[in-house]
Symmetry: D2
Subunit: 450 residues, 4 copies
């Protein structure tokens, strides 16, 4: 390390201590070695948490109307490289103290951008060396790397889908470099977001949409080709978001992203997948669980940015997860899949601008880890107990288990369909949708009585 | 006709009369034989309007809190068949008086549903005969037919993606019948909407989403196969809508619908396309023009339900089009395509509940036809004049016309990309996005001065 | 009763039985006689639940795209009066079986509207007699009465704020009658909602807004005057809702309603208050707890319509309450007030259209009662423990306890203010807003560990 | 001036030239000396435009995801005071070249904040002297002054409604100073916005809402008292906005703001009024025209921040006005009032981040001024012609002109009301709401044919 100094001197390693007195910085639910009921996996295996450098140690808590408020002593440094290294230290200190195994970063979160691409690469190499040392020293691992393709003014009119081939080339070359670095640091995956890949004004795309979407596909295929070439065995994961900063991002939600990937021949590639985010689902007007279900239906869910939006707010608030209820259907699905075997739960979440105590970042992350842990345990109980399956599978969808169901799914002729229609209709007895009963069931598991 | 009686006795044929005194029921902009500047087509050819039976003559103007208010004398009949025929008459009277060439209908808009499928078919045949007579007598044509797969309680838990194979079979057999009828009436297209194909509660789809989407694909392929079998030469057109009545419909917007169609092998079929609706775009949080652009980029735009939503209202208000500005980018695109060569502009729009004067339906449709006509003429002027292209094509996207643009699009190696990045970055000069200037340009064409 | 027949024959009285096996129709948390920690009141006293006739026994579960699906045997009757009485029976059977003490009704929920006002009054008297008998027989009580001023077409252009004085008079006379009935049945309060009191189109109010708001005030004062005259000792409670059915209702949220009441001289009247609804807060883009806080700040919170909206849905979904977390801040406030001493928690909530099992209404209401009960107990624990107060009162607002705080609140001169500014600014040390920590605290109480 | 240099060297004074060739920076509709039909006022009198320093010359076009992109040569200066003066020069150059008579500023837009309040005051005095010179030299005037109570971290937890009396005092003392400056510069009004006066988290207001609203009132009264004391003859104008930066601002919309002002005794003061903004109305889920109507109904509309939001975007986009249609009902109301006799139309609008050409600010402002001018002329025509009044006043509200209407408005007894109800109901004939017809009428005036 560049210093022996701790960046969070007031906080030690966070223990699992369910009975600690109120106000203690402890995990009450997250115990990484606890085996989850009905599975062969531990909480730690099912919930591969990660801290993201961007919000974790780089974001000064400004908003559109106010300057940064967050004390970030690691940013006070005589030169940009030292500052970058101190950000790395603060990041790893957070991981160590919180028992989080993974981190993620955008290239310029930690390495300062240089005056030339060459200088940027040199800075990236320096920081990468330093990260490799920190990984070796701590056993911490890289969840994903990515490129910041939104902050610099050169990206204001798009990158892959942008108006300028120079920008396209510059952005792509940054991805090549960062992919190499991600591989060197044994990162699990590489993220492509695309906040500037979208519509700013309708008039500029009415003749160009097919053209820019073709460029989008070409860009992605170049990334995947290079990943194959260098033997990167992670996934290239795309991240849907409907808007902000663009008026509409082309990858507006899961289904839209899957469509674009399919059209580009990317969905067909083994190494392409999705990175979902709770807050992004909400901005698209969709439940996060719905988005997870849609990604799973296409077998493309890889990783999750674990945060939480406020459904009344029209922009990305990136709160640390704190609502157990929303995560129960998500965990019911992840338990089906054995967690996120090839991905992570990265906290792309930020402190409130008013949260200025150095401990607040710990409250945020601890709260999120416990929230996901509670949801995991409740979901595991629901699965073990089986009543939800009784209602949904044994009642609501029961008719699909009959021979008519089988016949339809094997392929029926027009005449056979019509005969069935004559026979069974027009009034058809149906089960109740049982939504009220299911709501009670979920609450019974969340709030056990007696 | 069943009667000599007129259903709209107070209104005659609506003339094109730009100088008529205020308050006259006339077209001031829509003149079907006027050739649109810069094209070889007339307004009538570019804007193939249609009236939809559903809202046009069947909807009594109820809302979730109040009973119907609309006077509909054609619904007062001694028996359901007579009532159905009178609805047909009222519909054709509207078309004749408004000079609208097309109509559309759901099976049970005009033919009463029977106590058995057989009886329903018989009623449909009777009404179809009657429609054929009316078509012959008036020269009016069928834009599209479709099935009402949302009103009857049997569809409450879904149709193709529903919980019951009996319902699936019943719904599909209705489509077969209505497809035959549409073909018999020489309808241009057949619509599949899907208001009940969606999520009611998240718990019921977390294990079933892939299954129901498979059924969705099977259902659609059965429809297309049968269309091929009987030689229907129109398109099967799917209609995106995000929500209402379902919490989320799977076909939530254009991109999502295209993805589902692609996964099902339907997008690949020649006879599959899309039917878009302005109000549905808004419910999905998207500009209608964006949705049109996305459908065109996939070469799947066939038809449009011409209405207008209120962006502040969270449900389908289905107003008659009255905002020219929103339609200008749409018409810029349609003029590229020579209109909607295989589709229509169907007024899936309804009267306000408070609009109880028999003339109000005329005001609504005339207003909508004039609105689309103004937008068409303004868009044609913008195209002819060329300044928008100068800004967007010659300035904003100009760099893609350079050799670097060509090379990228022909395929550049990683090294070549990186060399270009070193050469051109990191600061890259870019054109202005010129949104303010484009806004001025549009207004200059909408509101010519001097 | 009109019959010995039970309308819900498959369900008996619902017991409190926390340990009942899964799937049992029991209360697991609601125990009316349980004293809530830190208070001298029982759950039953703090949560004066009520069933609303409208959704409870009158709503057939139609939606804008589909017919009713709910089996309602009590609606099958040879004549309207018998049907009305059977609705009353079904309503009281629900109350008795669920142990709910209160009910509410709109005039025409239970009494059929007649062909004349006289006949309507006669029907109302008949049904009122019957309700009085049922009250006497069961000990159940009336929470509030109200008028249905939205279903009948005569109300389509507004009532108090409408376009026609005849409608104003008719609506007001209905209120007079229903107020008498509410008094006769010893109802606690009388509700004025106002779904048709709002803007349909902007052009019709630009010259008339002040005029119609004057009428709104006159109408309300006539109601209050008559309540005083007849000695009704309940409150006239107004209910905010932003939209639906109107584009915008004037009483769009709590603050707007309070403003209108104030301008009309109604806020100043002792017998005027507010009836809030969770779903209505969401439609206004506000947290329900925020609305409750605003009503309390004006000392005008009387009663609550207990239901739950879906923040992604743009219309009134009126789900039975099932989300504990949203109710915790609400119950923290109600515990300050000793519950709703002059009001009720009326379930203005409806079954999902797909919920067609006769037991579903029980699942819905039981679930809601348990949800409120859990929230009450969690809130009571938070209050008793005191850590939230430590954070908010002892830390966040601590400076207002200093002498500077006192001086400001006693009134400081311009010079004194300026001196303080010179002394303390421009950089001022502030506590953390501690949102992350508070989120953890709430979860610790909701999901106790260890 | 500090320099002879022009900050916008490529642009001269903008003429009114309706026939200039496309692409010319000219006004095509705004002609300040043109008398508006049916009025005795000129366009310049009816539309007292103003440029706001904040967005006009201080905003570098950053967004939450990207750095500033705007070339602002005036910000390159050796010291903060020179930079501030150069901002003043750029601002006045804009006004002179655009023929805009007014400007507005927040204290620290133009005067750098100092290390102490004293230094800030000194800087303000220096800049004020310079502004006074520029005013004298150009004849330009101050629309309103205001304080930036959102950028500095000290305001993160609120100002008047905040958690700390030191911050309250500091903020108030800044207002005192800026009020003096506004008076010295003969500013017409003084704005109080309140972006940090709101809810960050619900838990922190549940015991404090009444307390902080009391502080809000005290703060406002101190401001008004001081304005009276020094003889400021403008208005103190409050500006509603629902959210951003706060989750909810207490002054969430017009009605809420009026309520808070009323409770505080501020609404009753002669010198208190409202400053409305189009984009803020949209964020509150309301039409701007509705908000204008509500402010007028309370006789409190003073001034307008003229910009435009995008109804699909959940944050403040502050586009320059470009949609004529939305402004027509607004101008119909302002024409009733003779414009904004005591206020201004200040362009609180910003360039898109992609608009990087120095001319873009001219396109933006010219476009906005022409947009308002067109709306004014269309509205004037509608008024002169009278058909809208015929429909709304002579038809829709006609019944209020009958004797029953008069009697109701004079006060009718309960018995008289009931007699009228018996006589006229229950079925009451009503006029059509005529929304379709009104939509046609508006379009006829916007797009004259023939």
């Amino acid at each position: 390390m560049t210093s022996q100094k701790q960046w969070f001197p007031g906080v030690g390693n966070i223990p699992h201590d369910p009975k600690a007195k109120r106000g203690s910085l402890v995990f009450r639910h997250f115990n990484p070695t606890e085996v989850v009921a009905g599975t062969s996996k531990t909480l730690g295996e099912l919930l591969p948490f990660g801290v993201v450098a961007w919000h974790g140690v780089c974001n000064p808590s400004a908003d559109m109307f106010g300057r940064g408020t967050r004390p970030m002593p690691w940013d006070e440094a005589p030169d940009p490289i030292t500052k970058g290294k101190q950000r790395c230290e603060a990041l790893f200190e957070l991981m160590v103290k919180l028992g989080v195994d993974y981190y993620s970063w955008h290239n310029y979160d930690l390495a300062p951008e240089g005056a030339t691409l060459k200088e940027s690469h040199k800075n990236l190499d320096t920081i990468t060396d330093f990260l490799a040392e920190l990984q070796a020293a701590t056993g911490k691992k890289l969840a994903w790397g990515t490129c910041d393709h939104f902050s610099h003014p050169r990206y204001r009119l798009g990158v892959a889908t942008g108006v300028c081939p120079k920008v396209y080339a510059y952005g792509l070359s940054e991805v090549f470099k960062m992919l190499e670095i991600t591989m060197r640091l044994q990162g699990k995956n590489f993220v492509l977001w695309g906040g500037r890949e979208g519509m700013r004004q309708i008039m500029s795309i009415i003749k160009r949409l097919a053209f820019v979407l073709e460029n989008y596909g070409r860009f992605g295929n170049s990334v995947c080709d290079y990943a194959d070439e260098i033997g990167f065995d992670g996934k290239i994961i795309y991240e849907p978001k409907k808007r902000e900063p663009s008026k509409v991002q082309y990858q507006s939600d899961v289904a839209a992203t899957l469509f674009l990937l399919q059209q580009a021949g990317l969905l067909q590639r083994e190494n392409v997948g999705l990175n979902l985010e709770e807050n992004h689902a909400g901005l698209a007007g969709l439940d996060f669980a719905y988005e997870v279900a849609m990604a799973r239906a296409a077998d493309k869910l890889i990783s999750i940015d674990a945060n939480e939006g406020d459904p009344l707010i029209g922009w990305d608030v990136d709160e640390f997860s704190h609502t157990v209820k929303k995560l129960i259907p998500v965990m019911l699905m992840l338990l089906e899949d054995g967690g996120l075997p090839n991905g992570n739960l990265a906290f792309d979440a930020k402190l409130r601008r008013e949260s200025t105590d150095p401990k607040d970042i710990f409250w945020g992350i601890i709260g999120a880890m416990d929230t996901w842990s509670i949801a995991t345990k409740v979901a595991a109980q629901i699965r073990s107990e089986g009543v939800l399956d009784d209602i949904v599978e044994e009642s609501i969808y029961a008719e699909w288990g009959t021979s008519l169901g089988d016949r339809i799914r094997s392929g029926m002729t027009k005449d056979a369909i019509t005969n069935a229609a004559h026979r069974y209709g027009p009034t058809i007895e149906l089960p109740s949708g049982s939504e009220e009963r299911i709501n009670v069931l979920i609450n019974e598991h969340m709030f056990p009585a007696g």
